[in-house]
Amino acid sequence: MFYRVSGQFKTSYESDMALFPVKQDAILLAFILALFYVAFPMMASEFTYKALLVPVLIYALAAMGLNILTGYAGQLSLGTAGFMGVGAYACYKITSIFPEVNIVVALLLSGCFSAAVGVAFGLPSLRIKGFYLAIATLAAQFFLVWLFEKWAWLYNFNASGAIEVKGHEFFGLVITGPNAAPITQYYFVLVCVTVVSFAMINITRGRFGRVWKAVRDMDIAAELVGINLMRAKLSAFAVSSYVVGIAGALLVFFWKGAAEPNLFDIPLSFKVLFIAIIGGLGSIIGNFLGALLIVALPVLLNLLPGVLGLEINSATLEHINVMIVGALIVFFLIVEPHGLARLWALIREKLIIWPFPH
């Protein structure tokens, strides 16, 4: 009833392959955008920005980058956090060497650095596959974090080995540092994420996306039909690391405000991978759903006893929280191994034929 597709005729190939072949999808998307752009900012407190909205967006962006690589091109990577770190450190160096550079330019450039590093560590993927590749990407992970720790030039010889973010202005608005209003930071991140999402949706629908999917489904077959495997895999590494790098730079500049090398250690990689998998491999929207579950849910769970007026010791609460999240991950994997995006797709199909299922 709400999702009725009858009456929407496709009269040309273009309309059949359009971004939204069904009108309701576009309406739904507009609704979600309105939610993020208008409704949330109207109700959010500083805590909501800092602990829920901004992290969800940034994590979703990182997961999107990983999803390009793992979900579309089928190359499992556990080095995401390392590449995020490259983005963050590159952005830090660019802004400290050229302080007059606009922060947007710095962000875009820092993505290039992580893309280059990603391609370098992607080279083994031409020979190594599956879990062996996953463990090989761990080499990138551990090596990069070690480098952030040891290469003092990267953090400008800071005494405590950390990077700190200056206040940057963007057309007169302070957007980084402690003086930036959370709402401006939120909007900046939101716009970045929206732009990248649309770019990724279109890349994955286009030639590149199709090539990647062919490689994912069976690389030998893809090679036999004339796809250049090297180009396909390395381009996936490049695009993926670019997005991941930007997410890393956003993470430090627009959320944390300071970072130590440890931040980019392996738990972050796993967290991003979780988001991508729980959300749904090979899907863009899934990353957002996954981020809501993995990033926002624990925060909300932590608040729950306060709302219910229960007196639980915070350490116990944390234990229970970790248990619940672990159990939920297993639960969702059992219920729908293809992720929340697939769950949504099923609901949508049901809605289209509702209320007459036959």
Binding site: T70, L76, P124, R127, I128, K129, G130, F131, Y132, A134, I135, A136, L138, A139, F142, F143, V145, W146, E149, K150, M218, I220, A221, L224, I266, F270, L273, F274, I277, I278, L281, A315, T316, E318, H319, I320, N321, V322, M323, I324, V325, G326, A327, L328, I329, V330, L333, I334, P337
Partner: protein, 319 residues
């Protein structure tokens, strides 16, 4: 020029001029290697039989060790605590199979991998909930592990061997021998290997999937307990032990995911090489702490030449 000297000449000069120290380095490397191999063994067994890259092996080590120490703290004597801990590990294997594995049969590898991380998180929360986060001492003496040390004086220097480490090595060797015997000589062991080769063929000749999985996870639990005891004797038992799981990953890359002997040889090779590299190259040239990545890079280089690891099964691809 000086850098070149430091890279190509100085380490060897040092090795020759202080051979006793070099022997000590070798011994320490060997002990670390055996410990890495033990953890890797748990991974290999489970991967062999169920194609699950079981990330929970690390936390199972902590869990087993904590259960043992926790039971002892509550007045259970050591000789009883060990079988009781094994019982707990059996229950764990049983519930993992029932709750996690059975519903996920036949899913892609990556899903099972993620599920094992879910199990890891659950066990971390559960373990801290039950045992608390304090650092606990392993009940080394109560278990009858000698704590003294043996000293040699070769080449005018000294080499020191902890009896604790020696016990660890002997225990690991025995464990591996038993395991190899079990896998190769018993019906159950053959069933495990059959399952690893082909699930459906194994099922069709009457091998019970769920029974074997429980068994395999239980064996992994036994290995975890052994690992927990020897690591715990070195540095105490706490949740920080969980990170040792990462040390097993390059071992798996190097040795191959399916090979028991690969895990042993890979573990020892990595233990030795990373120690030698750290002492003679890492510390003078890179400011130390190269152990975090050396093993990975080494394994990566090996993989470039042998994509299935040194002892892994040859990957045959068909279209």
């Amino acid at each position: 020029m000086e850098t070149l000297y430091q890279i190509f000449a100085d380490p060897f000069v040092q090795i020759v001029s202080a051979p006793d120290f070099f022997l000590q380095v070798l011994w320490e490397g060997l002990v670390s290697g055996v410990l890495y191999a033990l953890i890797a063994l748990g991974f290999v067994l489970i991967f062999k039989s169920s194609r699950i890259f079981n990330f929970a092996q690390g936390i199972m080590v902590v869990f087993a060790a904590l259960t043992l120490v926790g039971l002892h703290e509550n007045g259970v004597p050591a000789w009883l605590a060990v079988p009781l801990t094994l019982g707990v590990m059996y229950l764990l294997a049983l519930s993992v199979e029932r709750v996690v594995l059975r519903p996920l049969v036949g899913q892609p590898d990556i899903i099972l991998f993620m599920a094992s991380i879910g199990v890891t998180m659950f066990l971390i929360g559960f373990g801290e909930f039950v045992f608390g986060g304090e650092n606990k001492a392993m009940i080394t003496a109560e278990l009858g592990i000698p704590t003294g040390s043996i000293e040699f004086f070769p080449f005018g220097g000294f080499v020191l061997i902890e009896q604790k480490d020696l016990t660890a090595v002997i225990m690991a060797v025995l464990l591996v021998l038993c395991l190899l015997l079990f896998l190769n000589k018993t019906a159950m062991g053959r069933a495990i290997r059959a399952l690893g080769d082909d699930h459906q063929a194994a099922l069709s000749v009457g091998i019970s999937l769920s029974k074997i999985w429980v068994l395999v996870w239980f064996i992994a639990g036994v290995i975890a307990l052994a690992t927990g005891i020897v690591w715990g004797a070195r540095a105490g038992v706490s949740f920080a032990l969980e990170v040792i799981a990462y040390k097993a990953l390059p071992v798996l890359m190097l040795g191959g995911l399916e090979s028991v002997s690969g895990a042993i040889i890979g573990g020892i090779a990595i233990g030795l090489l990373e120690k030698i590299f750290e002492i003679y190259w890492g510390q003078p040239l890179f400011g130390g702490n190269t152990e975090t990545w050396f093993a990975f890079i080494l394994a990566l280089i090996v993989l470039l030449f042998r994509p299935q690891g040194l002892f892994g099964e040859r990957i045959i691809e068909r279209v």
